[in-house]
């Protein structure tokens, strides 16, 4: 589904991401774990075309090269990103935010079906379709952001810390929902601080430190690895 090779991101002289290689198979959930500032968000943003990749990178989605394509063309190719910090249109209503997500040509025919899926996932949004997004609570805005990405009918969904600000109950529901999304044939690549819950649903994981991928493996193996437990699962 997604093949990334030699992907680097530079901010001036600072190398936020250094020669990353990774892949996401069809129907896989893959999680990237790492500290804040390790380069996880830069990776997702570069894959989605929101940041330029340094020369020499290869990013392929279902065999199609993405490097150099504008972000909207990448959405059309079947990739949707939910960025960190809930990039929603604050002055628009919930309904309008979801509609904008469905703007991609690939999504237009399936709007009704996608919307039903989003509203089943987040019933709160169904109650609040007319509410101005800016006035939603923090967690509700996160639901809008994820819902909007799903409206573009992606083949691959990229999520930057989707559980941020969600209650424990909703967080569990979100991870269960990711399993359902995978069941619908959508692949998922996510960055998460909640290592325990994300490894529990993921198929595979990557560990990233100071811009480099320093480890990878099956999610169950990572969850059982003492070094991973110390660094990412918390030892208290």
């Amino acid at each position: 589904m997604l093949e990334v090779a030699g992907l680097s991101v530079l901010y001036g002289k600072h190398r936020a991401l250094d020669q990353a290689d990774l892949s996401v198979g069809a129907g896989e959930i893959v999680v990237i774990l790492g500290a804040n500032g390790a380069g996880k968000s830069s990776l997702l943003r570069a894959v989605a075309g929101l940041l330029p990749a340094a020369p020499g990178a290869k990013v392929m989605l279902s065999g199609r090269p993405l490097v150099g394509l504008p972000a909207h063309a990448i959405v059309e190719a079947g990739l949707a990103l939910v960025p960190e910090g809930r990039a929603i249109f604050g002055d628009l209503t919930v309904r309008e935010n979801l509609l904008l997500g469905a703007f991609a040509r690939r999504a237009r025919g399936e709007e009704t079906r996608n919307r039903a899926r989003v509203l089943a996932l987040f019933p709160r949004l169904a109650e609040r379709l007319g509410q101005t997004a800016r006035t939603m609570s923090g967690g509700e805005q996160q639901m809008v952001a994820i819902g909007r990405a799903l409206m573009s009918a992606p083949d691959l969904l990229l999520l930057d810390e989707p559980s941020l600000g969600l209650s424990p109950l909703l967080c569990s529901e979100l991870f269960r929902a990711l399993e359902r999304i995978r069941g619908d044939g959508i692949s998922v690549l996510l960055v998460e601080q909640n290592a325990r819950k994300s490894l529990a649903v993921a198929d595979r994981g990557y560990l990233i430190e100071n811009g480099r991928i320093v480890g990878s493996g099956r999610a169950a193996d990572l969850a059982g690895d003492p070094a991973v437990q110390r660094a990412y699962l918390g030892g208290r």
Partner: protein, 250 residues
């Protein structure tokens, strides 16, 4: 028992037909750390907005250090000794970190100017771990550093009561430990803290007491261990499969 610092009674706020905060009452004693918990959209941030004067209540009483503050403008409440961080951070984008904190000092209780303000701003940035990026613009900071800046700005007001809105969200275990230590040390230096947070590890290790809301109403209050085991809290907020740290969920 120490003295009551904050007392809320019958606090109510509506948005159109939605009662976001519904006849809420609780107290916070001096030197306590109290956790304010509840599902997404249950009214926690709205409570902080009502306390800090960002929003006016439709009904109810708020007493802070003996003053009736419900409906007072935000700057008057700040001057009485209450400061808060915002869930969605809002620094002054065109000012350096140093100047962001310095601006806070100018509006604080013991207003500081000139060299004294520079020294104090530096001390506060060190305190929250931003000593190395004084000259940076907020937009250049990572997410976690923006939240640290937000805290330094709040501390510049020299509060007796600090309201933290999900200040510990989005941290990895190591960063979370450091954040918890920082909050604890602020409390140790005499600042009372009301903490809105979904990170249960932080709640368990920091809070002396917890208050839980659902749909604007109080549903439980008491010691963290009691409250987190409460059936209604588990049903509405934690979920049945909430696993403790160390649990073998994976």
């Amino acid at each position: 028992m120490s003295r009551t610092l904050l007392e809320i009674d019958g606090l109510t706020r509506r948005f159109g037909g939605l009662v976001a905060v519904d006849a809420l009452g609780f107290t916070v004693a001096e030197h306590e750390i109290v956790g304010l918990l509840g599902p997404n959209g249950s009214g926690k941030t709205t409570v902080l907005n009502l306390l800090s004067g960002v929003l006016r209540p439709d009904a109810g009483r708020i007493a802070f250090r003996g003053h009736a503050i419900a409906g007072l403008p935000a700057h008057r409440i700040a001057r009485l000794g209450m400061a808060r961080t915002f869930q969605l951070v809002r620094p002054l984008a065109s000012l350096s970190c140093h100047d962001n904190v310095r601006t806070g000092l100018a509006f604080g209780r013991r207003r500081a100017w000139g060299a004294a303000a520079d020294a104090e701003a530096g001390r506060l940035l060190d305190r929250v771990g931003l000593g190395g990026v004084r000259g940076s613009l907020p937009g250049e900071l990572t997410y976690i550093d923006q939240k640290r800046l937000e805290l330094a700005r709040a501390l510049a007001l020299q509060p007796d009561l600090l309201l933290l809105d999900e200040w510990l969200a989005g941290l990895n275990p190591t960063e979370l430990d450091a954040g918890i230590e920082l909050v604890r040390s602020l409390n140790g230096q005499g600042i009372t803290i009301l903490l809105v947070e979904h990170v249960m590890d932080a709640i368990r290790s920091l809070c002396h007491r917890c208050v839980v809301m659902n749909a604007g109403r109080l549903i439980a209050a008491g010691l963290p261990a009691e409250v987190l085991a409460d059936r209604e809290v588990v049903r509405a907020y934690l979920g049945e499969d909430d696993n403790d740290r160390g649990g073998g969920h994976a």
